[in-house]
């Protein structure tokens, strides 16, 4: 289906021999096939994570009421009489977070877009290690199956939050052990992938493609790969230690003298729940930059292309991305301000957190400034890319009172936090990912997606995303805690906000309905979309010099690069864009663009 469009031109005959169906479509070594496998699996998990949230939304809107239609399907262990038990609500919450972050967004943004686009944008025939690439997809798949299977064991899935804080997670049901094994698979996949990305970008760039001529998307993926490489191992270590606590009875995270349900626990004690938090957040903070950087990369590409002018401040954006990556390792304890840390260390983390907002703001500002004086084409990718800017802006700004300890005292663990991070990831990253799908679909399939359906998808999504998440800031400010199975309705101060949950529930349904045009568009266009040329967007970067879809090996002739990535509307040029691979008539290479122009 999807693969057919690409592979008609591709693998079976490329080696001079026929490859079986399995080697071509399932166990392929081609980065484009692997990228599409990641993308489709990631999208399916996003959909699954969404359905988990829909069940939670019912409970929040109508606490204690039986769910219509699907109530019986959930089973008596989870929802007797169709009424969601608190234990099941907790499973939904923990797995919604885990699935969206680790099985949905990152595989799509890095595994999907990274794998498909990066080799093409640097003029390489494939990733540096194709077999490793395939292995990393299948290990991810195994991790996904493991996580999914955890719903069906006695006690259900992990239910201690995606953050799995000890000591609760240590004494939790079997699903938590499966979660830990699932995370080991996912971390392994991530590690193999990140090594592949870095080696590919460093070693396989085409002739003339210096670092400062790389598209910003590639820089973003390079920094992301370093974050994944270096930040995940501490969580792997922590996961091993939590497995030891659960399976071997160790006390890495179990403090002395802990009493549960009136009984002292049967552990040696001497451990520290805070140790888990430090190790977890040491990964999980860089993880959020893993979530946002590829999105910023996608938006940068689409803005440059649809404004018909160079990105404003390319050099500064690149340096900001690198600085962001570096800083992301020294802010993690802003997730732990309420753990009783001293004022000195709290001041340290508040300072680094304020500093890290600078490169984010620079990148966002540069993207905004790129719109100034532009000749904007409002196609579907551009609509999603432009909308990313204010949405990420809201998400980023609402992070500031969370990053300062005094205000965090009031807002910590409330719906304000949920609103903040969803704004960054949902109308932030996910909109950028939608933009990327509409933008690169023609390259992957040789067909354009339908613009009308795309615009319906866009307008519905942006309206209802905001209706779902904007009220959360109010709910948080008034003090409604997160992770409460009845939405906090047992507390008097939450009662006036009950109606908002009902409205948010309707908005979530509407949000879902507006994804249907996208799903239809996606599959319909593969079959009958308008055929696309090599370069339907009149873009400058290297992927648009390959056929649509590219064959095995990508380029019919070895590419050479003569200029920077965003030479749009160059004064005196015959066309309003100069492709990177187009030789100068004079023969001398054009220098890379400078920060201002």
């Amino acid at each position: 289906m999807e693969h057919a469009a690409i592979l008609d031109h591709a693998a079976p005959h490329a080696h001079g021999h026929e490859q079986s169906f399995w080697r071509t479509y399932v166990f392929s070594l081609d980065h484009k096939v692997i990228g599409i496998q990641y993308a489709i699996t990631g999208l399916l998990f996003l959909l699954f994570g969404f359905t988990l949230m829909m069940i939670m939304r019912w409970q929040l809107a109508y606490p204690g009421q039986p769910i219509p239609v699907i109530g019986g399907w959930l089973g008596t262990a989870n929802a007797p009489g169709g009424i969601i038990l608190p234990e099941f609500y907790n499973q939904l919450g923990a797995m919604h977070g885990t699935i969206m972050v680790f099985l949905g967004v990152v595989p799509l943004a890095v595994g999907g877009f990274g794998n498909f686009v990066v080799p093409l944008q640097i003029g390489a025939p494939d990733m540096a290690f194709p077999k490793l690439n395939m292995a990393s997809y299948w290990v991810y798949f195994l991790g996904g199956v493991t996580m999914f299977a955890s719903f069906f064991v006695p006690g259900g899935a992990a239910n201690s939050g995606w953050t799995s804080y000890a000591p609760l997670s240590v004494i939790a049901t079997m699903g938590q052990t499966i979660w830990l094994f699932g995370m080991v698979f996912l971390i392994t996949s991530s590690l193999l992938g990140s090594i592949n990305f870095i080696v590919t970008i460093v070693q396989l760039r085409a002739k003339g493609l210096t670092f400062m001529r790389l598209p910003f998307f590639v820089h973003a993926q390079l920094v992301t790969a370093f974050l994944l490489l270096l930040a995940f191992p501490p969580l792997e270590a922590a996961g091993v230690m939590q497995l030891m606590d659960r399976l071997a009875g160790t006390s890495f995270f179990m403090p002395s003298g802990l009493i549960i349900s009136g009984q002292p626990i049967d552990f040696s004690g001497g451990g520290s729940p805070l140790l888990w938090q430090h190790l977890f957040w040491f990964l999980a903070h860089p993880e959020v930059y893993v979530l946002i950087l590829p999105a910023m990369g996608i938006v940068a590409e689409i803005l440059a292309n649809n404004t018909r002018k160079p990105l404003w401040g390319y050099r500064v954006m690149v340096l900001s991305a690198i600085f962001l990556g570096f800083m992301s390792f020294i802010v993690w304890a802003h997730h732990m301000f309420m753990t009783g840390m001293g004022t000195t260390i709290s001041a340290f983390f508040q300072t680094t957190t304020m500093i890290i907002s600078i490169p984010s703001v620079i990148i966002l500002s540069a993207l905004f400034l790129s719109l100034y004086g532009a000749s904007i084409r409002f196609n579907t990718p551009m609509l999603f890319a432009i909308s990313f800017l204010p949405m990420f802006g809201i998400g980023g700004l609402t992070g500031l009172p969370l990053g300062l300890a005094p205000s965090d005292i009031h807002l910590h663990d409330t719906y304000y936090v949920i609103g903040h991070f969803h704004y960054v990831v949902a109308p932030g990253t996910i909109f950028a990912l939608f933009a990327g799908i509409y933008y690169w679909f023609p390259k992957a399939t040789g067909r354009m997606m339908n613009e009308t359906l795309g615009k319906i998808h866009f307008w519905g999504s942006i309206v209802f995303m905001n209706l779902i998440f904007m009220p959360m800031f109010a709910q948080g400010l008034v003090g409604i805690n997160r992770r409460l199975w009845d939405g906090g309705m047992q507390y008097a101060h939450a009662a006036p906000y009950q109606g908002l949950n009902v409205m948010q529930g309707y908005a979530a349904w509407a949000m879902f309905l507006f994804q249907i045009p996208f799903i239809i568009n996606f599959f319909m266009s593969i079959r009958s979309g308008k055929p696309a040329s090599k370069n339907p967007w009149d873009a400058t970067t290297l992927e648009w010099t390959a056929p649509s879809p590219p064959p095995h090996g990508n380029f019919t002739s070895v590419p050479e690069v003569f200029r920077g990535p965003y030479e749009y509307s160059v004064p005196g040029a015959a066309t309003d864009f100069l492709p990177q691979a187009q030789p100068d008539s004079g023969g001398a290479p054009t220098p890379a663009p400078t920060a201002a122009h």
Partner: protein
């Protein structure tokens, strides 16, 4: 379709792909063991009482094991050097000895572990033993991984020498870097766990 710089070095970076890849992997391994060492520090600092390693663990046996691993790193280098001197037979001898020394290391650790278990000293006993078993256990898994790779290159993998000697030599260099790292982790583990 040929991927460049599999064997030859890229001029501006001076690296082939596998060498860059293994150094990146080792960086991630530093973070992995670093997290565990950091946990050791935090657990020990917070503990009201913490045993000296030499009171609980068998130092002479572990010293022997340290020498075994160091020797295996030497033989690993010798195997690489043999390939550089175009001597496949000597390569096989040296990498074979490296694998055997790995088995010796594992055997000694198995003896140490069974000694502990026979005195009912399990990881659940206290946090010192918990971190001891976890650190050395994870290290042991890495040793086993390295031994599997080295055994493969001693056996069926050595066929590559006959078709692509330069590429095969590169693979041994990369495997050697990994094996040195595994040795280096033990050089940190031994004093921290056994001597402090």
């Amino acid at each position: 379709m040929d991927i460049p710089y599999v064997v030859d070095a890229r001029p501006d970076t001076g690296l082939n792909n596998a060498k860059l890849a293994i150094w990146l992997f080792l960086a991630s391994e530093v973070m992995l063991f670093g997290a565990l060492f950091s946990s050791y520090v935090l657990l020990r600092v917070a503990a009201p009482v913490w045993p000296h390693g030499y009171d609980v663990l068998n130092v002479p046996v572990a010293t022997f094991n340290t020498l075994v691993l160091i020797t295996s790193s030497v033989t690993m280098v010798m195997s690489f050097a043999s390939l550089k001197m175009n001597d496949l037979a000597t390569f096989k001898s040296y990498i074979g000895i490296t694998v055997i020394l790995g088995f010796v290391f594992l055997g000694v650790k198995a003896y140490e572990y069974s000694e502990k278990f026979s005195h009912e000293l399990y990881p659940s006993e206290n946090t010192f033993l918990a971190i001891y078993f976890t650190l050395t256990g994870l290290h042991m898994l890495h040793v086993i991984g390295g031994m599997i790779v080295n055994s493969y290159y001693w056996g069926p993998g050595s066929k590559l020498w006959h078709t692509a000697p330069a590429q095969f030599t590169n693979r041994i260099e990369v495997a050697g870097l990994y094996w040195h790292f595994v040795d280096l982790v033990w050089i940190f583990l031994f004093p921290v766990l056994y001597l402090l």
